[in-house]
């Protein structure tokens, strides 16, 4: 739910509550007013009746549906007593029981004491409620309308810088140097947000650059010492005095060094692609590259008793890219298919309309697919895996404009690469 919708809902809820409470208050005030006014009318009528009695009008003539006068013997009362009360009386006109207000007075007039009862019908409660409710409803609609208008017109405008900042952040990558284009705004919060985002972006880029340089230097600087160590071990291996047990140790140390060296080369390759050191506008022939590489991999697959099926259509002959990178990409994917396969498994390679599908059997992946393309994300695999292969494949695809996708559907691991056909010549 968007912030705007939330705000709108909250406003509407607040309005409902406030209007509800306001309704109660208004209704109560209204009722009090009505009682006061009715009482005043009754008092006024009482004065008229008393005046009429004083003038000597016959009591029978004064009595009617509203007024009841009863003469009482006076036992020395001089003060008048008045009491107001609510009562229900059958209405003389509608013949229904209705709420009435009644004043009962004991009034000494001359020597005589009179009990005077006057009734007055209330304004009907239902009418009062309906009037209040009607008022509130109109108010509610007016306010809601105003709020909706506000949220869809003004708030949208107010939040626009925020949306633009978000868009920029979404497009942000640490790898490039494209400046962030943050919108101008005079809202304090957005200005703070902007400053913060810019700072974060700069820091992320700075740190990423430092890290990258470190990796580049390391992967480069380690090549010479590794070469020396490898060379010395090679010499050691040629020593006729070497005992088999010692030779085994040297050989396995040499293998470990070879792995280290490949790691360095892999990292160096990644940075070189990032630096755009490869021309990506060559015309490459995917089918031919596959035909060249497949025999080797078929042999390697056989050694693991893996059934290898290739179905290469000769149609993807002019793809924009780089021949070296294409070969690395294909090699990495094929290697991967063998490496993560089970003994006696199966590999299928298919090229159709510039879509390369490589699928292989194997254990279910440990990682979610997105992670597989990151550096050093090792699947459940043999220890010699460097975890760089798929990262390199991904980098090559990104740089060359191919789409790569991984999917696991037991028992198949599927990697699909969609090669971009060359742009039509203009």
């Amino acid at each position: 739910m968007s912030l705007l919708t939330k705000f709108t809902f909250i406003y509407l809820a607040i309005i409902s509550v406030v209007l509800g409470v306001a309704g109660l208050i208004i209704y109560n005030q209204f009722q009090e007013l009505v009682v006061r006014e009715t009482d005043y009318t009754l008092y006024h009528d009482l004065q008229i009746v008393k005046e009429s009695i004083r003038q000597g009008k016959p009591i029978e003539a004064l009595n009617n549906e509203r007024v009841h006068i009863t003469p009482l013997p006076n036992h020395g009362r001089t003060e008048e007593i008045r009491a107001y009360s609510d009562t229900l009386i059958v209405h003389y006109f509608t013949k229904k029981l209705e709420p009435f207000r009644k004043v009962t007075a004991l009034s000494p007039i001359g020597d005589q004491l009179y009990r005077i009862e006057i009734t007055e019908i209330f304004i009907e409660e239902e009418d009062m409620k309906r009037a209040v409710a009607d008022m509130l409803r109109k108010l509610f609609f007016a306010l809601s309308g105003a709020i909706l208008l506000f949220s869809f017109v003004f708030s949208r405008q107010l939040l626009k810088p925020f949306r633009l900042i978000l868009e920029q952040m979404e497009r942000f990558t640490v790898g490039t140097n494209a400046p962030l284009e943050l919108p101008r705004t005079n809202t304090r919060e957005f200005r703070q947000l902007k400053a913060f985002v810019r700072q974060m972006a700069d820091r992320a880029r700075r740190e990423y650059r430092a890290l990258k340089e470190f990796v580049e230097h390391t992967s480069h600087e380690m090549q010479t010492p590794v070469a020396i160590a490898q060379g010395k071990m090679e010499l050691l291996l040629q020593d006729p005095e070497l005992k088999p047990r010692q030779a085994e140790l040297v050989a396995s140390a040499k293998n470990a060094l070879a792995r280290l060296s490949r790691l360095g080369k892999g990292l160096a390759l990644l940075t070189k692609i990032e630096h755009g050191e490869y021309t990506l506008s060559e015309q490459v022939d995917v089918a031919a590259a596959l035909h060249r590489l497949l025999p080797d991999f078929e042999e390697l697959a056989q050694m693991k008793n893996i059934e290898f099926l290739a179905d290469i259509e000769d149609d993807c002959k002019t793809v924009r890219g780089n021949a070296t990178l294409l070969e690395i990409l294909l090699t990495n994917l094929l290697k991967n298919a063998i490496q993560h396969n089970d003994e006696g498994g199966r590999i299928e390679v298919r090229l159709r309309q510039c879509r390369l599908l490589i699928r292989n059997t194997g254990k279910a992946p440990d990682h979610p697919p997105e992670v597989l393309f990151q550096r050093f994300a090792k699947g459940n695999s043999s220890q010699s895996n460097l975890g760089l292969g798929l990262a390199i494949a991904r980098k090559i695809c990104d740089a060359s404009g191919y789409h790569i996708r991984y999917r696991y559907e037991a028992p198949w691991h599927e990697v699909e690469v969609v090669f971009a056909p060359p742009a039509p010549e203009t």
Binding site: T224, P244, A251, S261
Partner: protein, 225 residues
């Protein structure tokens, strides 16, 4: 064969000189641009191993010097930088081959031999080991003058052995030579054994002696002892 190794890293140079000096190979070393230029101007070499990055100059300039002074000298560039520019510039300016550090010594040795054969066009175009004769141009293998049918992998294996005769070859360097870097993910290189077995069988059937010796726990060695 006369080799000049131009390499500024003393430890690596020492190991290489030691490794490459074998049989009829003479290997000299130059540690700097100046020393290399002096040697190149004074002597003739069959093959020059050239490190592009030297402390006092660029190996690429030496490359030009070699091409000018001794165009028949083969140049193999070795560089720690796997930079594509270096590779392309190197090959464009007349280098014959390129290897990135670190490399397997037997691989370098095989490349040197192959380069030497290519350069010696006028001489004999065959490779010999006892009664085995190989014509690299046609991939023909003969034992006692009679042709032997080998698969491409077996052929490459045999050439690799002969080029590294007398040296121990680990299963890994054999695998990498035959399948390139594709094998780096394999946990075991035991499959090399299968190919060697087949090669031995075919050579024996053709009447050649068993020269491929198994070095326990390590690999194999081509030897006549």
């Amino acid at each position: 064969m006369k080799l000049l190794l131009i390499e500024d890293e003393p430890e690596l140079a020492q190991a290489l000189v030691h490794y490459l000096r074998n049989g009829d190979v003479v290997c000299e070393r130059a540690a700097s641009f100046g020393e290399a230029r002096e040697k190149l101007e004074s002597f003739h070499y069959d093959i020059v191993l050239l490190d592009i990055m030297l402390p006092d100059g660029s190996g690429l300039d030496l490359l030009e010097l070699i091409k000018e002074k001794a165009p028949d000298t083969g140049v193999l560039v070795i560089s720690a930088r796997d930079a594509l520019d270096d590779r392309i510039t190197g090959l464009e300016r007349g280098a014959d081959d390129y290897l990135t550090k670190p490399f397997q010594f037997p691989e370098l040795s095989a490349r040197i031999k192959a380069l030497y054969r290519r350069r010696k066009r006028q001489g004999m175009q065959t490779l010999h080991w006892q009664e085995i004769t190989i014509t690299p141009d046609t991939h023909e293998v003969k034992v006692h003058g009679r042709p032997v049918e080998l698969t491409l992998k077996e052929y490459k294996l045999l050439v690799f052995f002969i080029e590294n005769a007398g040296r121990v070859l680990t299963k890994q360097s054999i695998a990498e030579h035959l399948w390139g870097d594709h094998v780096d993910f394999l946990d075991s290189f035991d499959f090399v054994y299968q190919h060697i077995k087949n090669l031995r069988k075919k050579l024996a059937a053709a009447g050649a002696g068993d020269y491929i010796k198994t070095i326990y726990g390590l690999g194999y060695k081509l030897t006549d002892q």
